[in-house]
């Protein structure tokens, strides 16, 4: 009986892992197939395996893919930076201060998540046009960054609340200002939650394509999801290239995940301790 438990645990985890992997393997198999995949298979195995589609996606048009990859990385990284930079102080204030408008702010932040984006795209276009930020990376970073701020504030606020007040008070007794205490004591203690929020912001910007396709024009400024969408036409789609591109788009995110995974667990934990 005792022996059977680990076997059952591994069996359960293994089947869950297969469930998680299976559709992704199909995407990979499509990307690696050199000929149309014969229909009706169970095993996601490529037909006439080839790396041609990856090469096509990477090196077409003088390898502009790498410029677009750089755009995506730039926009996603700065989105994360901007979002965390403006959300962290706000979350700190929400966690530590009582002030007029706090409850209303929290409620409004939650409310922004409830409104479907369908109605907001056109007004947003007009605002960016007014600010002369259409077809710029800055415009997109500001938009993504602001979109992520509400979730970031909630996430960080719970994390800050979980940090004992004594730590800051001790620092302030030693002569630090409130701001210094925030930067030198609270932020380092909340590093895991900051990592999670960064990851969340990064992914939001990394995968978004509707707004990017609406605001960007120049080939050299496009982000990867927009480029991927162009493999899908009205009646035809280049599924192999689409899948190869999707696989390539996933790799940086996986790398980030792998690097952050220990923080990720501890970070959401810190964010979740206070119920």
């Amino acid at each position: 009986m005792k022996r059977l438990v680990p076997v059952a645990v591994h069996a359960a985890l293994l089947s869950a892992t297969l469930f998680a992997l299976y559709p992704v393997l199909w995407v990979l198999a499509t990307a690696l197939s050199g000929a149309p995949m014969r229909s009706g298979r169970v095993l996601p195995w490529p037909e006439q395996p080839t790396l041609r589609h990856f090469a096509d996606v990477l090196f077409r048009d003088d390898a502009i893919f790498f410029t677009q990859l750089a755009n995506s990385l730039f926009i996603a990284a700065f989105t994360a930076l901007v979002a965390v930079a403006i959300a962290a102080p706000a979350a700190y204030a929400m966690a530590r201060f009582e002030f007029v408008g706090k409850r209303a702010s929290l409620r409004s932040l939650l409310a922004t998540q409830m409104f479907p984006g369908v109605a907001a795209a056109i007004p947003l276009y007009l605002i960016l046009d007014f600010l002369n930020l259409l077809d710029t990376r800055t415009g997109l970073i500001l938009v993504y960054g602001s979109t992520v701020v509400p979730f970031a504030i909630f996430q960080l606020r719970t994390a800050f609340e979980a940090i004992p007040v004594d730590l800051e008070e001790a620092a302030m007794v030693d002569g630090a200002t409130r701001a210094q205490a925030f930067f030198r004591v609270v932020l380092p203690a909340a590093r895991p939650a900051l990592a999670v929020t960064t990851l969340f912001a990064f992914m939001t910007a990394w995968n978004e394509f509707i707004l990017a396709a609406t605001f960007l024009s120049a080939e050299s400024r496009l982000t990867l999801p927009v480029v991927l969408q162009r493999y899908v036409g009205e009646h035809s789609a280049n599924w192999a290239a689409f899948s190869a591109g999707a696989t390539l788009v996933t790799i940086p995110v996986m790398a980030l995940f792998f690097w952050l995974q220990r923080h990720l667990v501890a970070g959401l934990n810190a964010g979740g301790v206070k119920g």
């Binding site: 995949m37 939650l110 998540q113 599924w239």
Partner: protein, 744 residues
């Protein structure tokens, strides 16, 4: 951009130095002009041809530069509609002629003024008259045709050896003996565009006199009924594979698993090089006429100017020159030879040797029906496709399905609501603002309020940046979007309609309150959708977290990374992967079921199974997030509690029930609340996996809103009203005690 310009310039120089070296010197001397901007949504081959054409244009017109912007196909129209009216549009764009009906009233396109160009009439005279006619409205020419697209019949010659005269009708062809496992015909047989030739063969029209053509006043056209019965027979007799998508057609025909295919030039471009294929125009149907496909004319259009732009004759000349060049002979030869376009320029066909495939597509276009250019034509597709699916998948009577399609069409093209007088609303708004201001001022005069305001000052400094960013880029667009729900527009007109949209939605516009597609029914589906998803997300996420949290576990890190994968891959790709896996004949899900002896399931034919497919996909996408949150919460539970419990002799089940689960729940609540809101508005999965099938029954509120905004005639006001209602429901839902405790 500079790289591209450089490349264009280099190409231009190369071409120029071969043909007219003298003009290059002139080009260098000429005043630099603002480049002309051209938008298009061409695929790879056609984009390459366009690049060569533009290089030739720049070489032939010294000093002239063209900046081509390639947009994803699905984005071009909405992009034009937001960019042109704000003065951010291109000078010219390439699009299909049938969009004219939508673009003209919105001022997206303006007539091409020929007066300045002496060669204009000669250019136009060279173009296929049928294509030119498609671009004329009220006697004015709105664009120059570049090429035409229509579907034709592809024949795999390895499977169908040609001996003697080809059989007369399609049926005779499909009845030829074929090897085991080979389908007679690969066609997207549930899609209106591909089924249109069958309707046409029986003499039915999809759109006539501004009204739905396949049914009138609730009475289906008997010819259309015949056509659908014939089509359903093809499916029933196993001549056409079930649930055919464009991808399946390519896969089957390209893989030698189908003898014939009905598709367009795009299929020819994606076939393996070693496949022996012949293309002919569509044949006739037995007991009916020839199958005439819809013809789409792709044309170069001049984008509309915003109101503030001043007229510039010089600019007009440049635009006309580029349009004329693009439609002209040299360009047509390049487009035909590089991208194998069926070009509209008749003289160009003498300049190269077209192969049999190109000639077949040209004949197909000549024998086809030019797609009606009325804006309402675009509303024919969704209802008709639903009717076709209901007939071939669900066995619904064609007459009933078509009558329902007519009702859906009429609903989508219904007139805008009456304009209301906004003065009452303005007075109310003014009064509210005034009262608000008075209250605010009076409150701030009270001493304790002023003191707490002063005390709030330091906190506000921390909040300021977030406040302004969210106010400007999140809240303002949402408020403006919400305000749009009080207006109705068809592009040309913009009128205040008060609460009409809300009344219409909540009253199901006089229809059955729980009828198909009514707000209340969709709400019910949405609520069940959200509840089931959350339940499964939490159950699976927590179970996996508990397993992963066991003190001794080998391969823990490997499991953790792999289980997180569904969160990391872009969801618009994996959702499509899931859709393919739910295909009734070729999907992996049914293949797995067959391995354990279960009959194949037609997933998207019934509500229950289609809904289950959506749920499976969304659970797959969403469980990793819950798992990670639960893992975090678990590692926060103090170990001493378990030790104490063990000392007291508690079993591991008792520990789970009395320690783990109670302590897990509170930190999980915020994630569940956020998850509920996100799932409620999860548009991707429903749109990509079931697409609302069968008959729109699996739509949720947000996908319904998207349809009204983007596929059902751009009724942004109506969609905005949906968005506001969604917001209201979620707002009420999250005000419950349970949730507000979690958020505090």
């Amino acid at each position: 951009m500079s790289q591209r310009a450089l490349r264009c310039a280099l190409l231009a120089c190369a071409v120029a130095s071969l043909t007219c070296a003298g003009q290059v010197a002139a080009a260098e001397a000429a005043e630099p002009l603002e480049p002309l901007v051209l938008w298009h949504a061409y695929g790879d081959g056609e984009a390459e041809a366009l690049r060569q054409v533009l290089a030739a244009f720049e070489a032939a017109h010294p000093g002239e530069r063209v900046h081509a912007v390639r947009l994803p196909f699905g984005v071009l129209a909405s992009r034009l509609e937001s960019a042109v009216p704000t003065g951010n549009g291109p000078d010219l764009f390439i699009d299909a002629h049938e969009r004219l009906g939508r673009y003209i009233p919105r001022g997206i396109v303006q007539p091409l003024d020929p007066s300045a160009d002496p060669d204009w009439d000669a250019t136009v005279a060279q173009l296929e008259p049928q294509h030119v006619e498609a671009l004329r409205r009220d006697g004015r020419l709105y664009g120059l045709p570049l090429s035409a697209k229509a579907v034709a019949l592809f024949i795999n010659r390895a499977l169908v050896p040609e001996g003697g005269a080809p059989p007369a009708g399609l049926e005779a062809m499909l009845r030829r003996p074929l090897p085991q496992g080979v389908w007679p015909l690969a066609i997207e047989g549930e899609d209106t565009y591909f089924v249109a030739p069958i309707f046409h063969a029986f003499g039915a029209k999809l759109f006539e006199d501004g009204r739905y053509g396949l049914a009138r006043d609730g009475e289906a056209d008997p010819r259309a009924v015949q056509a659908l019965e014939r089509l359903a027979g093809f499916f029933r007799d196993g001549l056409i594979p079930p649930e055919p998508s464009g991808e399946l057609v390519t896969r089957l025909f390209g893989g030698g698993q189908a003898a014939y295919a009905i598709s367009g030039p795009w299929l020819a471009a994606s076939l393996p090089a070693d496949l022996d294929v012949r293309v002919i125009p569509l044949p006739g149907l037995e007991g009916a006429g020839p199958m005439r496909p819809f013809v789409t004319v792709e044309a170069i259009f001049r984008a509309g100017a915003d109101a503030g732009a001043e007229a510039s004759p010089a600019h007009d000349v440049r635009v006309a020159a580029l349009a004329g060049f693009l439609a002209g002979e040299e360009s047509a030869v390049l487009r035909a030879t590089v991208a194998r376009q069926v070009v509209s320029h008749r003289g160009a066909w003498e300049r190269f040797t077209p192969d049999a495939t190109m000639l077949a597509f040209r004949d197909a276009a000549r024998g086809g029906v030019v797609m009606p250019g009325d804006a309402r034509m675009s509303q024919v597709f969704e209802p008709t496709t639903r009717a076709i699916r209901a007939v071939v998948r669900g066995g619904v009577d064609p007459a009933v399905a078509l009558a329902e399609a007519e009702a859906r069409f009429d609903d989508a093209v219904r007139a805008l609501p009456e304009a209301h007088d906004p003065s009452l609303a303005l007075v109310l708004l003014g009064a509210l603002l005034f009262i608000g201001a008075v209250v605010a001022v009076r409150r701030s005069l009270r001493a304790e309020v002023r003191r707490s305001l002063a005390l709030s000052l330091p906190a506000w400094r921390y909040v300021a940046a977030s406040f302004f960013a969210v106010l400007l880029l999140v809240i303002t667009p949402l408020v403006v979007g919400a305000a749009m729900s009080l207006f109705a527009t068809d592009g040309s007109e913009f009128r205040y309609v008060g609460l009409t949209h809300y009344v219409d939605i909540l009253s199901a516009r006089g229809g059955d309150l729980l009828g198909q597609g009514s707000f209340w029914r969709v709400l019910l589906v949405t609520v069940v959708w959200t509840a089931l998803n959350l339940l499964l997300h939490v159950a699976i996420g927590v179970s996996l977290a508990l397993l992963l949290h066991r003190p001794v576990l080998r391969l823990r890190a490997v499991y953790r990374v792999l289980l997180i994968l569904p969160w990391a891959v872009p969801s618009y790709v994996t959702a499509l992967s899931w859709k393919g896996m739910f295909h009734s004949q070729y999907g992996a899900v049914n293949a797995l079921l067959a391995a354990v002896g279960v009959e194949p399931v037609h997933w998207f034919s019934r509500f229950g199974t289609a809904f289950a497919a959506n749920i499976t996909t969304n659970v797959w996408l969403g469980f990793p997030f819950m798992m990670v949150v639960a893992l975090g919460a678990l590692s926060a539970i103090p170990k001493e509690l378990y030790e104490a419990a063990r000392v007291d002799g508690a079993s591991s089940w008792q520990q789970l029930r009395h320690i783990t689960l109670p302590l897990l729940w509170p930190p999980l609540l915020p994630a569940v609340a956020m998850g509920a809101v996100w799932t409620f508005n999860m548009f991707n999965v429903v749109f990509l996996v079931s697409g609302g099938e069968p008959g729109g029954s699996t739509e949720i509120l947000v996908s319904e809103a998207y349809r009204w905004a983007f596929t059902r005639g751009a009724r942004y006001g109506y969609a905005a009203a949906y968005a506001v209602l969604i917001f209201g429901i979620l707002w009420l839902g999250t005000r419950s005690r349970l949730v507000s405790r979690a958020m505090q």
